[in-house]
């Protein structure tokens, strides 16, 4: 009896200990570092003032969240129809399974390998430019590397599966009877989509979007490789501070800024998601 009563607490303790050791403690270290200065660790807000007082940082923050927002938006616009296709259109189970495998398998490969792949594809003489030139759609190669467009292509490619899986899961849970009821009451398929299916899949869309947005805002490898050193996002500045400059205080302040901005954006998205589609 006693053992069984104790077991949940032990398991909880293990989880809490892990969480504390590997998440809370490092996080505390970062926060403390961002608020202190020197070996004697005197309290200061200098690092934050340095981060937020400099226009350059605001530009980087803007680029970071512009890329994250556009990645989320494009992933949604591409991913929702793809999820719709997989859940609603595909009748043949084996084909659906094959599609899901194709979607998920790249996630087993390292981001670095996949981002290098895009560097090859998107280069001046890469497959993309070659194809566009040969089909006569363009006359001079498009510059992808070192532009936000290039980073966006890589990010959308890497993060798309999250949206497809989240939206697909939400779509699969919508009872077809709701759509039939909507059609029965005189709603066209288009009206049914906007008034019934979309609101009912909103929780899935929001959770998928939050996942993609946070991953995109904090992504390092893909923007670092595809930026060609011309574009900086916050994670790259943080990496520099920790790995080359060794200024953990300033790097910590940058990290906390990234975290707070991301939380605010996610909070706003959650607020939007709570507004229900009440239209009668």
């Amino acid at each position: 009896m006693k053992r069984t009563a104790l077991a949940p607490w032990l398991m909880l303790f293990a989880a809490l200990a892990f969480f504390t050791a590997f998440f809370l403690a490092p996080f505390a270290v970062v926060i403390v570092a961002s608020l202190t200065q020197g070996a004697d660790q005197t309290f200061t807000l200098d690092h934050y003032i340095r981060v937020l007082g400099d226009q350059y940082h605001w530009d980087v923050i803007l680029v970071t969240f512009r890329i994250a927002a556009l990645t989320t938006l494009i992933s949604l616009l591409l991913g929702y129809p793809l999820a719709w296709y997989l859940v609603r259109v595909v009748k043949w189970r084996a084909w659906r399974r094959a599609c899901v495998i194709l979607l998920v398998v790249p996630m087993f490969t390292s981001n670095i390998v996949r981002s290098f792949g895009w560097m090859v594809l998107l280069g001046r003489k890469g497959l993309v430019n070659q194809s566009l030139l040969e089909t006569g759609l363009i006359d001079t190669p498009i510059r992808f590397l070192g532009t936000e467009l290039g980073i966006l292509i890589g990010m959308v490619y890497i993060l798309l599966p999250f949206i497809v899986l989240a939206a697909g899961n939400a779509l699969a849970q919508v009872d077809p009877a709701f759509e039939q009821a909507s059609g029965d009451l005189g709603a066209s398929p288009r009206a049914t989509f906007f008034h019934v299916v979309l609101p009912l899949t909103m929780p899935g869309i929001i959770s998928g979007s939050i996942m993609v947005f946070t991953l995109a805002a904090s992504a390092y490898v893909t923007p670092a490789l595809l930026s060609g050193g011309r574009i900086s996002v916050l994670s790259m500045l943080i990496f520099q501070q920790y790995s080359s400059v060794f200024d953990f205080n300033y790097g910590g302040a940058l990290s906390v800024v990234l975290l707070i901005f991301t939380l605010v954006m996610v909070g706003l998205a959650g607020r939007v998601g709570n507004i229900r589609g009440n239209n009668p």
Binding site: Q180, S182, G183, D184, S188, L200, N278, N279, P280
Partner: protein, 355 residues
């Protein structure tokens, strides 16, 4: 009365399974029609074909003379009450009911007005701000009903709408539906597998089996003059007794030596005679059978009393016969003992069956 819905030669296959086999049916304005049959008989397929959720393989469905067979559901002048109600979970009761008029292009305030009116008809105006999630089955049922009538369709389809309710509520809703239908003057097509429910509410019952219509008629026709062995067996309880007719017109039952006196013409040589349990008399040992009453002898196998009436099961030459008597069983009816039964041949309904 004019024909509202006309179903002509409708067929539907699912693979090798024939769900609808050449269905013909005309329904008039303001009629209460019940599609009755066991599960898999095609009644729901027929309803879904009328609603437009399913395309028949062949045949036409016309409403008010206009062929709607190829129209999508949202272009058909009818509404449906779904089996599990299918209320939109992200909308309040009022929003659910106002959805129909809104999609028909009625403005917001007028839609709400219409929705309140429909909710008042089902007695739910007080709950308009609730979400369906927290409501009882009976309340959800009423919301679904209000949502389906708010557009004032010409035809309302109801797909086993009461099957999820408990017995008492179900009986009450049956009568309420009947009153609502009379008040609105809309034709109802109601699908059920419950023959008692069908007989309670229908103007006309359409009995279906294996994708075919077995019989169409009002409840007394269906009960007293079943068109087939299936209908006789499905509607109420029935003793089905084989008969043979000779060329000279003599009709003999499997349970009796002497021919019975009937005046049928053109009767098929073989078939079944339907005898309802309430028409089988359990005769007293002392009293002789009255005039016109045929007597048969058998052995009691079971006596089942439900208080208001008693069912006496017996065997006559291997043929089971059930008799229904009013009240509690007589003391001398004991399993294993012999019993004298009687019936009036007038109560027999003969169904010829091709060999």
């Amino acid at each position: 009365m004019s024909v509202l819905l006309s179903i002509d030669s409708v067929c539907k296959h699912f693979g090798s399974f024939q769900a609808l086999d050449n269905i013909h049916l005309d329904i008039e304005q303001g009629e209460f029609i019940v599609l009755l049959g066991p599960s898999g008989c095609g009644k729901t397929t027929l309803l879904r074909s009328i609603a437009g959720f399913m395309q028949p393989d062949s045949g036409t469905i016309a409403i008010d003379g206009e062929d709607v067979s190829r129209l999508p559901p949202y272009r058909r002048p009818l509404n449906t009450v779904f089996q599990n109600y299918a209320l939109f979970p992200h909308m309040t009761v009022l929003e659910n009911v106002a959805y129909g008029p809104r999609r028909q292009g009625v403005n917001r305030s007028e839609s709400r007005l219409k929705a309140r009116e429909a909710l008042a008809m089902v007695g739910l105006e007080a709950l308009e701000d609730r979400y369906p999630r927290g409501m009882s089955g009976g309340q959800q049922q009423r919301v679904a009903l209000a949502r389906a009538i708010v557009n004032r369709p010409k035809l309302l389809l109801l797909d086993e709408p009461l099957s999820a309710l408990d017995m008492k509520l179900r009986k009450r809703m049956q009568l309420e539906l009947k009153h609502l239908q009379a008040k609105l003057g809309i034709a109802f097509i109601f699908v059920t597998h419950d023959q008692e429910e069908a007989m309670t509410i229908a103007d006309r019952i359409v009995v279906m089996n294996a994708g075919r219509i077995e019989q169409v008629g009002n409840s007394s026709e269906i009960y007293s003059k079943p068109a087939s062995r299936f209908v006789a067996d499905f509607i109420g309880e029935a003793n089905l007794i084989g008969y043979q007719a000779s060329d000279s017109g003599e009709i003999r039952l499997a349970i009796r030596q002497e021919p019975i006196s009937r005046t049928e013409k053109n009767l098929l040589p073989r078939g079944v005679a339907v005898l309802r349990p309430e028409h089988v008399l359990v005769l007293d040992a002392s009293t002789p059978a009255t005039a016109g009453c045929h007597e048969i002898h058998g052995t009691v196998t079971d006596v089942v009393s439900v208080g208001s009436h008693t069912l006496v099961h017996s065997l006559i030459d291997g043929q089971p016969i059930v008799a229904r008597t009013m009240g509690l069983p007589r003391a001398d009816l004991i399993a294993g003992k012999s019993v004298r039964l009687g019936f009036n041949p007038e109560h027999l309904h003969l169904i010829g069956e091709p060999v």
